[in-house]
């Protein structure tokens, strides 16, 4: 079991901070919600606000807190990001662990049967077509373009980390 099971209570756990600031979230992102640690990219906004949407392989950065995480329920943070249309956006070099990563290969997610994705230590990481961390270049696999490198695997998912993926970000 994890060394401290309590600390794996959020989608994204921070060990070393990089740069962070608040951004406006797009209408689509407000509607869909998002998990903590998910990739976000810049999208056109309604006004002079810096606005992000869900990453499609490109980035900006990642969103620190999910829109509706269990630890936020029944507190003053419940739905606050979606209601006020903001999120904490992370860029630069972070060391963090997250549950927001692809667990099955892109090809198997299209038509099945599902094939688990295996992560190795030091694997280069990218954002998947739905903004999850992955070691596959889904933009290349799907013919959508070229993926941008955004981090390394610092800790593979395993029982002692509650199967969270440890990441050193390069954003």
């Amino acid at each position: 079991m994890p060394t401290n099971p309590l600390i794996y209570s959020r989608d994204c756990l921070v060990w070393v901070m990089g740069d962070r600031y608040t951004v406006t979230v797009s209408d689509a992102l407000v509607a869909s919600g998002w998990p903590g640690g998910v990739g976000a990219m810049w999208v056109p906004g309604d006004n002079d606000e810096r606005t992000v949407g869900l990453s499609d392989g490109r980035f900006g950065g990642f969103l620190l807190w999910g829109s509706s995480e269990t630890p936020d329920q029944l507190t003053g943070l419940s739905d606050s990001q979606q209601t006020y249309r903001y999120a904490t956006f992370c860029a630069g070099g972070w060391l963090m662990s997250t549950s927001t990563y692809e667990t099955y290969t892109w090809a198997s997610r299209q038509a099945g049967p599902l094939v688990p994705l295996t992560y190795g230590i030091n694997d280069p990481l990218y954002f998947s077509l739905r903004g999850y961390w992955t070691n596959e270049q889904e933009m290349v696999l799907s013919g959508a373009g070229t993926n941008l490198f955004c981090g390394f695997v610092a800790q593979v998912p395993k029982r002692s980390t509650n199967y969270w993926l440890g990441i050193q970000t390069e954003l």
């Binding site: 070393v16 070099g93 230590i121 390394f152 800790q155 029982r159 002692s160 050193q168």
Partner: protein, 173 residues
């Protein structure tokens, strides 16, 4: 002559991010020089973040060497290897270090040794043994991962008599 005292393996001119990490047994056994590159290592059943010597990938660089002369006869003697920890540096640092390749990869295999010439502004990579170099040793050695696109920094000043033959680098880790 040098105007900055260079009595350690890695001399810091500009700081960036730093934190402590656990060390892989292989790194403890081999020791390391200050400023050398490390990459992540699987810590097995533990949830520690652990590093080992870089083979071209990173991590970051280790600030203090495991057995530097300046630490002798002080409370820091062998401190890192005994307690299995080190200070890792990431982000953008400006450092002078002795931890760089002085001879080409090819000449180190069979000789005669051919010196590497560094020039300000050049891209830097980790060599196959975790030292700064301006060549892609994955390509030179036929490593299947080639080419190495992981640039870890730029040359700020080439080794010369004015800097005690240290390589000055701006990191991009």
């Amino acid at each position: 002559m040098p105007t900055v005292t260079r009595n350690r393996d890695c001399v810091v001119h500009m700081k960036s991010d730093s934190f402590t990490v656990a060390l892989a047994p292989s790194l403890i056994a081999s020791g390391w020089t200050g400023g050398s590159g490390v990459m992540w290592s699987d810590s097995g059943a533990s949830d520690k973040f652990m590093v080992e010597q870089s083979d071209g990938l990173y991590g970051g660089m280790l600030l203090f060497g495991s057995d530097e002369l300046s630490d002798k006869w002080t409370g820091l003697s062998d401190n890192q290897t005994v307690y299995s920890f080190a200070t890792i540096c990431t982000g953008g640092w400006v450092v002078s270090t002795v931890s760089f390749e002085t001879y080409t990869w090819a000449s180190r295999q069979a000789g005669p040794l051919v010196a590497i010439t560094y020039t300000a502004g050049e891209k830097l990579y980790w060599s196959l043994r975790g030292l700064y170099t301006n060549t892609d040793e994955w390509s030179e050695s036929g490593d299947p991962r080639a080419p190495n696109t992981f640039v870890v920094g730029r040359v700020v000043a080439a080794p010369s008599v004015t800097n005690n033959y240290y390589l000055t680098a701006q990191t991009n880790l």
